[in-house]
Amino acid sequence: MNIRTRRGFLAAGLAHTAVVTLLLSGVKTAGASTGLATPEHWAKAAGVGPHMADLGRCCIEWGAAELDPRVLVARLNGALTARGLYPDDVSPAALRAALKELRRHEFLAGEVVRVDGWVLCRSEARGYALSVVAAARS
């Protein structure tokens, strides 16, 4: 994996935003017509280098049973609901605040994973995995 340096981690974090932009702008990934694209397919389509793919792949390896984006979203929603954090409305601001609180809860509770050395809470690791998996299906 390449996410061993600050450069890699910064690139992955920035690419996280990039995938949102590309995905929702209608950019299709190379593997979309044949099913699930590999992280490398996505990375090539996104044109932001291997870092995001690496981090996403690491997260997928951590949660290999959660490759279905619906499952990943359900887990995130479930985590919010279980802690009574799910907002009354799903406005962006409310959702952001709820997820920030969820991250705090998970870090404090030790619900974390080591992804290529980075200590991430489960919800954000699922988020990275979701980015890769959902991008591949768009």
Binding site: R6, L14, T17, T21, P92, V112, G117, W118, L120
Partner: protein, 528 residues
């Protein structure tokens, strides 16, 4: 009064009520406390007023186990002892460090923190560590320097007060003028001689590099030679007790503790990062007094995880390493800025999933806007409380010093518990950073490789004459008196039952004040 022992006639006797061996922070503090108290004090020091390589070679020793710096480099035989070369960083042990923690083997002091608290106050005053302020918010307001804010979670900021006080310089004028205190320099104690039954000390066998032999007699003796030498001196004193003095339960020299430290990983801060000038670096205040902060984990977090105490220290990462990362970030960041971030559920979900986008964006912006002012990437160094371990010990070496005495042989060993403390401690710092939204940590250590080859130590030698009221579990009792020897006491970090993660000198001095009170309380003349 100051006397060079080399000038005394061969066969001379030194007579006093109290004889202290070693003029480091502990010995000098006790001597000064008893100055002008009507007690005749003789303070014996191996070295002189200045560092003398011919003397300091006597501090040489051997080691096995973890590789350490040469023992004569980290110990000084001179008036002031190792305080002549230290950096002056001081902090008290935490209250829970004194408690028996059922998950920390051999933990528990004979008394609680509250017993030592008034003596800590005296130690602060003696070491001119004032104002005695450990609240980082107060220091931040005074210095206008920033720090990382922790909430009610598992992390918090620790403050250290710093003054590199040379104890001899601090006490010299008082001790020179005190009629009841005589300081003997270049006086090397070769052994502690007891009565035939070995239950009391009769005298000390003293010699100098000039070759004259002396005898020191007193009612009471205090051994204050440092964490390694205290044990060596007891082991060398084996003419009656063949295992060494106070060693009836084979405890002398065991439980050697240090503060192993190593870089555990990298902290990438979110937001604007942290200015290079902050409270995590030594900040000079006035007249040699400084302050700095480190990271700590709460007692509750340590108890929940069943680990020892641990300290985190932040250092800016190598700026040469920042630049390539910044260039890569810049290229991607510019691409992102050209795009349009949509406003819908999934888009906001992904953005909100992690604050890493913010981390990365601000990292780039800050790095290039003012690269000399801020840093987002920091090394996270960990200082670990080593647990008491009977197999980590000081023994007598086969090689001998100039006087024909076996040198000290240090066998420093860490345990699986120490590895757990280091690993979980680092992980908990990472969790604390994440919980507060301060940033993320990438750890370089794994379960199998916790202490890397670059592991260093704090030059803090502790535990080799540990304190416990049960003779089967400690060399000295709660008053620091050697079990089974009615008139021999030990001062210094060798009596620490546990090490905490604080630098030890402040506690050494507080204990010295406490012992001085006890000796004074024994009555005029420090009778047995």
């Amino acid at each position: 009064m100051l006397i060079d022992a080399r000038t005394l006639p061969d066969g001379s006797e030194i007579a006093a009520d109290l004889c202290i061996i070693g003029a480091g922070p502990a010995g000098l503090t006790i001597a000064n406390s008893l100055a002008r108290k009507g007690v005749r004090v003789a303070l014996l020091e191996s070295g002189g007023e200045d560092y003398d390589p011919e003397v300091n070679v006597l501090a040489e020793g051997e080691y096995t186990g973890i590789e350490v710096e040469p023992l004569d480099v980290t110990r000084v035989r001179a008036l002031g002892g190792t305080s002549t070369i230290w950096n002056g960083q001081c902090r008290m042990l935490d209250p829970h460090d004194f408690e028996e923690r059922d998950w920390v083997p051999h933990s528990g002091w004979p008394f609680p923190y509250e017993e030592l608290a008034p003596h800590y106050a005296r130690a602060h005053a003696a070491m001119r560590l004032e104002p005695v302020e450990y609240d980082i918010a107060v220091w931040s307001k005074q210095t206008e320097l920033p720090y990382l804010h922790f909430g009610e979670g598992m992390g918090f900021n620790r403050v250290s007060l710093i003054r590199a006080l040379d104890f001899w310089s601090g006490y010299a004028s008082d001790l020179r003028e005190a009629a009841n205190v005589t300081v003997y320099t270049y006086a090397n104690v070769l052994g502690i001689r007891t009565t035939d039954e070995g239950s009391a000390v009769e005298n000390l066998d003293v010699t100098t590099l000039a070759g004259n032999h002396l005898t020191a007699r007193a009612r009471t003796f205090v051994l204050a030679c440092g964490g390694i030498e205290n044990a060596r001196m007891l082991l060398l004193s084996n003419d009656v007790h063949t295992n060494g003095l106070g060693n009836g339960h084979d405890l002398v020299g065991r439980y050697f503790m240090e503060h192993p430290r190593f870089t555990s990983g990298t902290l990438l801060l979110s937001g604007d990062g942290l200015p290079i000038r902050n409270l995590y670096d030594v900040h000079y205040l006035h007249d040699g007094f400084s302050v700095r902060a480190d990271l700590g984990l709460t007692a509750a977090a340590q108890a929940r995880e069943r680990i020892g105490n641990v300290l985190g220290r932040l250092r800016p990462a190598d700026r040469k390493k920042l630049s390539p990362g910044g260039r890569a970030a810049r290229n991607i960041w510019q691409d992102v800025r050209r795009g349009r971030v949509p406003v819908n559920f999934m888009g906001n979900l992904w953005q909100a999933i992690s604050d890493l986008d913010e981390v990365a964006g601000s990292a780039y912006r800050r790095l290039y806007r003012d690269q000399h002012a801020f840093a987002e990437t920091w090394e996270l160094e960990i200082y670990v409380e080593q647990s008491p371990n009977p197999d980590s010990r000081v023994v007598l070496a086969d090689v001998r010093d100039r006087f024909g005495q076996p040198k000290a042989h240090l066998i420093w060993r860490l345990t699986d518990f120490d590895r757990k403390t280091a690993l979980r401690g680092a992980e908990l710092f990472a969790q604390a950073m994440g919980a507060e939204g301060l940033g993320r940590v990438r750890l370089d250590i794994t379960e199998g490789e916790v202490f890397p080859p670059s592991t260093g130590w704090g030059h803090h030698h502790m535990g080799t004459t540990r304190m416990h009221d049960d003779p089967g579990r400690g060399v000295v009792d709660g008053n620091a008196k050697v079990h089974g020897v009615e008139n021999l006491y030990v001062a210094g970090s060798s009596v620490f039952p546990t090490a905490g993660c604080a630098t030890p000198t402040l506690t050494i001095v507080a204990l010295a004040f406490r012992l001085a009170d006890h000796l004074e309380g024994l009555g005029k003349g420090v009778s047995r």
